[in-house]
């Protein structure tokens, strides 16, 4: 009985120093852009963020997921892998696709640069991620996919 209680209050709560992680796999569909950002926002809420911080995270996640849908999978089928973790006060979110990849990452990150042919995209996706998060890292291989990893310190 005593041991049970210890399990409940102690070990099951997880050690404070350990990172807490969640993983989400979604189909590449524009409808899932909202779902993905809301799930990450709810996960990040355990860091007790301000409304502005939560909005920043939601917008940054929306950019990365929209990029995967439009560019990574070119609006076709595919799976988007989202992982979020908190360690101390730091939130890390990664959005990965197994799509076409980015030939020139530096170019893709330039504000106003877009390969979108509808003319309706602003080319500000990465600029938004960079402005709203503390750190944005992009890894990509043509033909294999792209992974965007973003970090933000919450409640500084």
């Amino acid at each position: 009985m005593g041991q049970d209680r210890e399990m409940r209050t102690g070990k099951c709560g997880g050690a404070d120093s350990m990172a807490e992680t969640m993983r989400l796999e979604i189909e590449s569909h524009s409808r899932n852009e909202e779902f993905a950002r809301v799930v990450v926002a709810v996960f990040a809420s355990r860091l007790d963020p301000t409304l502005e911080e939560i909005d920043d995270v939601k917008t940054a996640v929306s950019e990365a997921v929209t990029n995967a849908v439009i560019h990574g999978y070119r609006c076709g089928p595919g799976t988007i892998y989202i992982e979020a973790s908190v360690r101390g006060k730091e939130l890390t979110v990664s959005v990965r696709d197994e799509g076409v990849g980015i030939p020139d990452i530096a170019k893709a990150r330039e504000p106003m640069y877009t390969t979108d042919c509808t003319g309706e995209r602003s080319g500000m996706g990465f600029a938004f991620m960079e402005a709203l998060m503390d750190q944005v890292q992009v890894r990509s291989l043509v033909g294999e996919g792209t992974e965007v990893t973003m970090k933000k310190l919450i409640g500084r």
């Binding site: 929306s62 950019e63 602003s122």
Partner: protein
């Protein structure tokens, strides 16, 4: 009426576009087609965007404003916004469109100012 659709309202030469609650890529897919159609069939010299219901926006909003601005500019027209919350205004500034559009607190002001220019 639902909160994911765009609502269009013609007021003389002014076209008011009421934006949805969540202004993202998914919800904006029909906007271009719909506004192009309205601009073809009506003489519009000013587009006014209503952000008063919008609580979320990503860079999709920048693309929308930028493209309507370019469209209006070609015919000598203007673009204005009203009802933008602090976070939305901040994102519009980051996206560099705040200096291209006029910002007002109310719909009436945003529409009325159009006639002065």
């Amino acid at each position: 009426m639902n909160d994911t659709a765009f609502l269009y309202e013609a007021r003389g030469r002014v076209l008011v576009i009421h934006l949805p609650k969540e202004l993202d890529h998914h919800n904006s897919r029909s906007l271009r087609y719909e506004t192009d159609l309205l601009l073809e069939e009506n003489y519009i010299s000013r587009i006014v965007f209503d952000f008063s219901k919008t609580v979320f926006m990503d860079s999709t909003g920048i693309g929308i404003l930028l493209n309507r601005y370019k469209q209006m500019q070609r015919s000598g027209g203007t673009v204005a916004i009203y009802g933008a919350r602090a976070q939305i205004a901040r994102l519009l500034s980051i996206g560099g469109v705040m200096k291209l559009v006029d910002r007002y607190d109310t719909k009436e002001a945003a529409i009325a100012e159009g006639g002065k220019k």
